[in-house]
C-alpha cells in the first residue's frame, strides 16, 4: 500500500517538473551559463577586431574589420608605425618574456610545493612520532594568517637577501609547502591501503625508498589533481610577483596590469589588451579542456574535507 502511494506521488512530481520547474530551472541555468561564458566570446571578438574601428561599431556582435593585428602586437611582430595605424599604443610589451617567466614561476613552485608537501603529509599520515598532530595543527593554522600580513616581512627578507627582482626570490616562499597541499595529501595517505608498504618493509626497504617507489606512484591521481590546482593558482598569482619582480622577471598577470596603464592618452588599445588577456588565459583553458572533469570533481573535496 505504502509502496503504491510513493510511486504515484513520484510520478506526479516528475510530470509537474517537466512542465513548470524544469523550464524555469533551465532558463535560470541558461542565464547563469551565459553570464559565465559570453564575456569570453566578447574578449575573442574584440581581440580579432581592428582597434581603430571599434569605436564606430561598439555593439557589433562579430569582430569589426577582422584581423590578427592585435595578436601580432602582443607578440611584438608589428612595427611601431603599423601598430599606431591600427590603434595600438606603440609601447613595447615583452610578452614572450612574461609568458616564459609565468611558466617558470608556476612550474617550479608547483613541483616544489607538491613534492615537499607530500613528504610532510606522509610523515603526518604514516610515521609515528611525538607531537605529530600538534605540528600538523601548526601547519594548518597558517591558513588563518592573511597573506598581506606575512608579505611585508617576506618582502623585507627577500630584499635583505639581495634577491629582489630575481626568479629565485619570487619562488622561494612558495616552493617549500602550502598548508592546503599537506592537508590534501595527508587525507589521501590516511585512506591508502598499508599492504604494499608493509610488504616492501618486510623486504627491508628504507622508508625513503618506500615513499619514492611505492607510495608516490600509488598516489599518482591525487598528485595530478593537486599539481593541477596548484599550478593554476600560481599562474594566476598577482600580489607577490607585483612586489618582488622587476622587468626581467615580470609574470603575465603583472605584465597585463602594466599593459593597461601603458595605453597613451587617446583611445586605449582594447584589441591589444583583450588579445593579451586571451593569450594569458590560454594555458589554463587548455588544462581545463583536458582535465576539466578532474578539476570540477576536486572542488567539493578541496573545500569540504
Amino acid at each position: 500500500m505504502t509502496t503504491t502511494t510513493t510511486i504515484v506521488t513520484q510520478g506526479r512530481r516528475i510530470r509537474r517538473r517537466v512542465t513548470w520547474g524544469a523550464v524555469f530551472g533551465w532558463i535560470c541555468l541558461g542565464i547563469a551559463i551565459a553570464i559565465s561564458i559570453l564575456p569570453f566570446y566578447w574578449v575573442l571578438r574584440t581581440s580579432l577586431s581592428m582597434n581603430s574601428a571599434l569605436a564606430a561599431n561598439s555593439s557589433s556582435l562579430l569582430p569589426v574589420e577582422f584581423n590578427l593585428g592585435a595578436f601580432a602586437r602582443v607578440f611584438g611582430l608589428q612595427s611601431t608605425e603599423e601598430a599606431l595605424a591600427q590603434g595600438g599604443s606603440g609601447a613595447e610589451i615583452n610578452f614572450w618574456q612574461y609568458l616564459l617567466n609565468s611558466t617558470i614561476f608556476a612550474t617550479l613552485t608547483t613541483a616544489g610545493a607538491v613534492f615537499f608537501s607530500s613528504m610532510a603529509a606522509y610523515a603526518f599520515a604514516r610515521l609515528r612520532w611525538k607531537h605529530r598532530d600538534l605540528v600538523f595543527g601548526l601547519f594548518l593554522a597558517t591558513v588563518l594568517v592573511p597573506p598581506i600580513f606575512t608579505a611585508l616581512p617576506n618582502f623585507l627578507l627577500i630584499k635583505n637577501l639581495g634577491l629582489l627582482g630575481t626568479m629565485f626570490g619570487m619562488i622561494l616562499p612558495y616552493i617549500f609547502m602550502t598548508p592546503f597541499a599537506i592537508f590534501f595529501m595527508r587525507q589521501f595517505f590516511l585512506n591508502m591501503s598499508r599492504e604494499v608498504e608493509e610488504a616492501a618493509m618486510i623486504d627491508g626497504a628504507s622508508q625513503w625508498r618506500i615513499f619514492m617507489q611505492v607510495v608516490l606512484p600509488n598516489a599518482a591521481a591525487p598528485l595530478a589533481t593537486l599539481a593541477l590546482l596548484t599550478f593554476m593558482g600560481q599562474w594566476n598569482e598577482y600580489f607577490w610577483p607585483l612586489l618582488v619582480s622587476d622587468e626581467s622577471t615580470r609574470v603575465l598577470t603583472v605584465g597585463l596590469g602594466t599593459f593597461k596603464s601603458q595605453s597613451p592618452q587617446g583611445a586605449p588599445d582594447w584589441s591589444g589588451l583583450m588579445a593579451a588577456t586571451l593569450v594569458s588565459a590560454v594555458p589554463v583553458l587548455i588544462l581545463f579542456a583536458v582535465f576539466g572533469k578532474r578539476i570540477v570533481n576536486s572542488i567539493g573535496f578541496s573545500g569540504l574535507k
Binding site: L29, I37, W129, N236, F239, T277, L304
Partner: protein, 311 residues
Amino acid sequence: MTTSTIVLGRRGATRDGGVRTRRTRSDIKIALLFIAPALIGLILFYFVPTIRGLYLSFTEYSVLDDPTWVGTANYERLAQDPLFWNALGVTVQYVVINIVLQTAIALGLALLMQHVARSTAVRGMLLMPYLMANVIAALLWFWMLDYQLGIVNNIIEWLGLPRVAFFGSAEWAIPTQALINTWRHMGYTALLLFAGLQAIPGTVYEAAKLDGANPFQTFGRITLPLLRPVIALVLVLTVTGSFQVFDTVAVTTQGGPVNASRVIQYYIFQKAFTQLEFGYASALAMILFIILAIVAFVQMKLLRGNESDLA
C-alpha cells in the same frame, strides 16, 4: 609481545602487525627528515614573518634605515586616521555585497545543479570564470563596462536608461568591484554548496515527501538546516577572501575615484610601497589580521559550522 618487538626491531613489529607494537615504535628521526623542507618553509615564511610583522607594527620603519621602536604610536595614529576608517568602511561595503549576492546566487545555482542538470559540462561552464586570474576578470569587465564603448552600457542605453560610469563614479566603484568578484566566484561557491547538497541522504527527503511537505517546507526545514556546516564554511571563505580584495582594484580603479575604492589591502600596499611607511603598514595589516580572526571565529560559533545535524 613487547619483548619480541625489542629483539626484532622494526621489522618484527611490522611482521606481527599488532597495533600495540606499532604504537611503541617512534619514527621521529625519519619523520624529521620527511618534514624538513616543509618545516623550513613554515618557519622562514610563516612564523618568522608573523613575529617580525608584529614587531614592525610597533616601529617606525622607512626601509632605508633601521626600524625605531615607537610603542603603540602606529595604533594610536590609525585610530584617528580618516583614510583608515574610510578603507575599512569601503571594504565592509564590498564584503557585504559579496556575501549577500554570492551566497544567494550560488545557493540557487547549487539547487539547480541538484534538481535540473547534474551534468559535469554545466558545472564546468559555471566554473570557468573562477579559473581565470583576478587580473583577467578585472580587465575583461573593465572593457565590457567601459562608459563609452562597453557592451553593457550599450545594452543599458538600448533599454532606454542612462549610461553608468561603473568605474568612474564614487557610488558605483565598489559595487562594480563586488559584481566582478561575484561573477568570478559564483560557480565555485555553487559547486561547494552542491557537494554539500549531495551529502544529504535521499531518505530524509523521502520521509518529508511521505509526510506531505511541499518543496518550500522541504527547503526551509531540511535542506537549509542540513546544509548549515557547508554554508558556514562558504561564508567564512567568502568573507575572509573578500576582506583581502586587492587585484581587481589595483588593475582598474587604483583606489579611486578619490577614495571611493581604496580598500584596506590597497591602502596597506600604498603605505608600504609608495610611501615607505612599513611600520604603519604593518600595524594596518595587524588590524586586518585581527578582524579576520574574529570574523572567522564568530561565524563558526554562530553557525556551529564544525558540527553537523546529520551526525
